[in-house]
């Protein structure tokens, strides 16, 4: 019993120290990041002051355009359109890619048959997929989102296939002996083991997806950040181009900080923190 109580005390002590350190620990990186971004802005505005040009506006000019676009409602509309396309393509790519990846990772025969297909799709240029999608399915929203998803799916498949290969058979055997149902199996055995791979695929996924979404919008949509950038490119308005880009980067940063990281912390709460 003594051993038992000791480990209990240790555990609760660990948790207490974690909580304390996470208070300071959360503030310090945030302050560092803020200082770093301010430094970059300062450098930018110095450089723009030394070489004044319409093609290289200072940060304040970009900020002014940003406010103007926001006030007219254009910024919000186009950001929302792009965000919705990113979200839709992300969901489609993650779901389809995960299912295919897990199937390939657990069925060796299917894997060796479909592997050449996978390599083909991995090496298909994004531009080709987008152009073909628009030609075959018309300039529609579904074609746009589908094209983005197809660009991302092979990456998800490769990552999730690795995850499925790394599944621990002992957990599956335990589940078989105790007769876990298929739903419980997915929820308690499969998903937690695949979570790190899912997180990796989704991290690299969101960044890739939003870049491809811009191309899709540029080629065949009449809304979204990509469409606006194309518009301002034609009238050579660099300040507006930067305003739209930075606004969307800021949104992606917020999603990462407020959605992705807390979710990931929740999913890995059982991992022992490094001392």
């Amino acid at each position: 019993m003594k051993a038992g109580f000791r480990s209990e005390n240790e555990a609760s002590e660990n948790r207490r120290t974690q909580r304390v350190s996470s208070g300071i620990g959360a503030a310090l990186p945030a302050a560092t990041a803020l200082a770093s971004l301010l430094g970059l802005c300062l450098l930018w505005s110095l450089a723009a002051g030394i070489w004044p040009s319409r093609a290289f506006p200072p940060p304040l000019e970009v900020w002014r355009v940003l406010l103007k676009e926001a006030a007219s409602g254009d910024l919000g509309f186009h950001l929302a359109m792009t965000l919705w396309r990113v979200a839709a393509a992300y969901v489609v790519a993650m779901v389809v890619g995960s299912v295919i990846g897990v199937l390939l990772g657990t069925h060796r025969r299917a894997d060796s048959f479909f592997n050449p297909w996978l390599i083909l799709f991995l090496n298909l240029p994004a531009l080709v997929v987008i152009v073909l999608a628009y030609i075959w399915f018309g300039l529609t929203e579904a074609a746009a989102i589908g094209a983005v998803a197809i660009n991302k799916i092979p990456n998800v498949v490769v990552t999730m296939r690795e995850g499925a290969r790394a599944l621990d058979p002992r957990f599956a055997e335990m589940a078989a002996v105790y007769r876990l149902g298929p739903l419980d199996h997915v929820r308690h055995i499969l998903m937690p083991q695949l979570q790190p791979y899912f997180a990796a695929a989704s991290r690299s996924g969101i960044a890739l997806i939003w870049k491809i979404v811009l191309v899709v919008e540029l080629l065949g949509r009449s809304s979204g950040v990509g469409f606006q950038i194309y518009l301002y490119f034609q009238i050579f308005d660099v300040a507006a181009i930067l305003a739209y880009t930075l606004a969307f980067v800021a949104i992606m940063l917020l999603i990462e900080l407020l959605l992705v990281q807390p979710l990931e912390r929740h999913a890995t709460r059982w991992r022992r923190r490094p001392a």
Partner: protein
């Protein structure tokens, strides 16, 4: 496997089990292995390392179906089987209590388990994650999971290996306590003679590979009388009966 009444025992009759090695060589792991475990009894499969004990258990657990022969599991009760593996095999991403309750059938997930956690000394550890437990405590949690299901038969595969002797001994006594509270037909695999003599009603003695039954040793002494000197006597008696083993 035919349902035969409520109190049918475990009957094992494995004709042959072979493994194919990586070079394609056939290795016979089991041949002509047959034995029975009576209802409500704690039996031990005792044999040297590598004789096919774990293979036998994997067949009985339904994890290995590539063999010839048949076996019959006890019917009745919850009609479930439970296993304590060589390693605890707790899900690291679920707490101790969630690990135990996940093994229950969905309708019974909320049933009262305080007595079980209490007996096994896990009451204060129900909300901890397995990484926060010592190996001994993780083993206890694995025992709790097995007993929580109130199985028709309980299989234990060397559940006390890689523990220091004191911890292993405490765990063996704990196992007996919880087993006495809910007597369950049990089959434990071990290569440790003293452990078998301490826990079992009957010991099924196996030969080296391919495993066959050499004989049955009935432990006549009542369990609460099996202290260290009594165990020494039992070991001597066992060696008189089976001079060539262990």
């Amino acid at each position: 496997m035919q349902p035969v009444g409520v109190a049918a025992p475990l009957k094992v009759d494995i004709a042959e089990k072979t493994f194919q090695s990586a070079e394609g060589v056939k290795i016979v792991a089991l041949r002509g292995l047959s034995f029975e475990v009576r209802q409500g009894e704690f039996a031990c499969l005792l044999g040297p390392s590598g004789c096919g004990k774990t293979t036998t258990l994997r067949i009985l657990l339904g994890l290995d179906r590539q063999f010839s022969g048949s076996y019959q599991l006890p019917e009745g009760g919850s009609n479930r089987i439970a296993a304590v593996f060589q390693e605890p095999v707790l899900l690291p991403w679920r707490t101790v209590e969630q690990n135990v309750r996940l093994a229950l059938s969905p309708g019974l997930r909320d049933k009262e388990l305080d007595w079980l956690f209490e007996i096994l000394g896990l009451s204060t550890m129900r909300s901890l994650y397995p990484s926060e437990l010592s190996l001994g405590l993780a083993r206890r949690a694995a025992l709790a999971r097995a007993f929580a299901t109130e199985p028709a038969i309980l299989f234990l595969d060397e559940p006390f290996t890689s523990l220091d002797e004191r911890t292993a001994d405490r765990l063996r006594r704990l196992l007996m306590t919880v087993w006495a509270a809910r007597p369950t037909t049990a089959l434990m695999v071990t290569h440790n003679l003293r452990e078998a003599l301490l826990l079992a009603d009957r010991i099924i003695v196996l030969s080296p590979r391919p495993a066959q039954v050499l004989g049955i040793y009935d432990v006549a002494l009542s369990r609460h009388l099996r202290d260290a000197p009594a165990l020494d006597d039992l070991v001597l008696d066992f060696h008189r009966r089976f001079p060539d083993t262990m």
